[in-house]
Amino acid sequence: MQRNARPYLDSLLAIREDIDLELQEIEDWNCCGATEYMSVHRVAAHALVGRNLALARDQARDTDLLTAGCSACYLNLAKTDAQMREDAGLKDTVNQALAAGGLEYEPGAMKVRHLLDLVCHDIGYDAVKARVVKPLHGLKVAAYYGCQVVRPDYDSRWDSHEHPTAMDKLLAALGAEPVEWSLKTQCCGGHMSVIGPDVAFGLIRRLIHGAQEAGADLVVTLCPMCQLNLDAYQVEMNKHFHTDYQVPVLYFTQLMGLAFGKKPKDLGIGKEFVDAAPALAKIQAEAPKVAEAKRKRRPKPGDALPMPGME
């Protein structure tokens, strides 16, 4: 979230006081390994995640909640915790490895929750609604959950693995109009955008086309990987298929910020590849221009009309 999903982090920090969310970052956290570490070292991948779980347990002050905004980070934390609970052999192996670094982790000690889950189910729609000062009336949104938050769902947090409704309800609480569409938990392409772009482009087109066909002004996401694939790779996908889709992709925290009356700039709006400004004009939110539009050619001496010298 610190880099490629900076807008996600900025918007979360901008709204955290409104929703009474106190956040404490795990000091010196390491990468969760995404879907790649586990593909190479099957068991060490759990030790990699185990370090984060152990650090969280040791550092947490007055809480046993551990939240992540990214689907893969969330799933890996939840998965290691769940599989250590289920498999005593794995628990033992991970703890032997952690001991080499002076750490240990008792599975179940932290309750791993995705940020959307906390916002919808703990903070609640009513508390969110109470903070809305600028309802997003007229904005049609496609709530996109992606795969790894709602599946495999080790702790049964969601109402459905294929057609969940939590984010739709959240967006409705903000005054927006969630559209009905069938692709809300289809894959964004994941790592295929790098290792097999042709496969990823097909998946991205299906999602973007589906959202547009459902009448959505924009797609709302809860994961940095999904945002990157649907936004930055939408541009590449258009080149690949010779299409011209222009469906902006924002984080749910950015829309919460808009409804709470925050300035678009403070929510990281304007850092997306597909410009969200036309869609946000519907709710009179002045979106800063995307970076590309800002770029101006430096004037050259010969550009201007001859002017009298100003000595």
Partner: protein
């Protein structure tokens, strides 16, 4: 297969095909998960490990939640990938190449490093696509969405000790 945590339930497969039908990249796989499981049962080790299917798996867990026999399909795919790397059997070296490059950065810095990952992977496996990727990379930099240098965590020695120990234990499992 013993490295898959818990009971993978693979021997319960009834060959119904729900997995391949649910798979977003199923159409591009040489063997769908269903066929792969039949090959495993037939002990066709090399055909299984050379398949592109585990690498084309996007870890979306659709097959896993839809499987009527509750087979841990996505987890089996991870096990197959690590087995293929150990056996040196691939359909295309670029497929494990991405995972291995990613792992290298995590083991060196404790974090992933997108700029290094994208350039090193593409240089080695798709050098011709690098020029095409440039606008995307520049766009990320311009929006402040990518670092130019990697960040190394403070507890690198601790992480290395943990991972080395885990790998030694993992070796003993197989």
């Amino acid at each position: 297969m013993s490295a898959t945590p818990g009971d993978n339930r693979l021997n319960l497969c009834i060959q119904c095909g729900s997995c391949g039908g649910s798979c977003p990249s199923g159409a591009e796989m040489d063997h769908t998960p269903r066929r792969l499981f039949a090959l495993i049962r037939a002990d066709a080790r090399e055909a299984v490990l050379r398949s592109n299917a585990p690498w084309y798996c996007v870890s979306c867990y659709y097959c896993t939640v839809r499987c009527p026999q509750e087979i841990h399909i996505t987890d089996v795919m991870y096990t197959l990938k690590s087995m293929a790397i150990k056996a040196g059997l691939f359909h295309d070296a670029a497929l494990p190449g991405f995972s291995e490059t990613f792992v290298d950065y995590v083991e060196k810095y404790g974090r992933s490093f997108e700029l290094g990952l994208a350039t090193r992977f593409n240089l080695r496996h798709h050098p011709l696509s690098l020029a095409g990727m440039a606008p995307l990379g520049l766009g990320m930099l311009k929006r402040g969405r990518m670092d130019l240098t990697p960040h190394r965590i403070d507890g690198m020695a601790q992480l290395t000790a943990i991972l080395d120990k885990a790998k030694a234990l993992e070796g003993g499992l197989q």
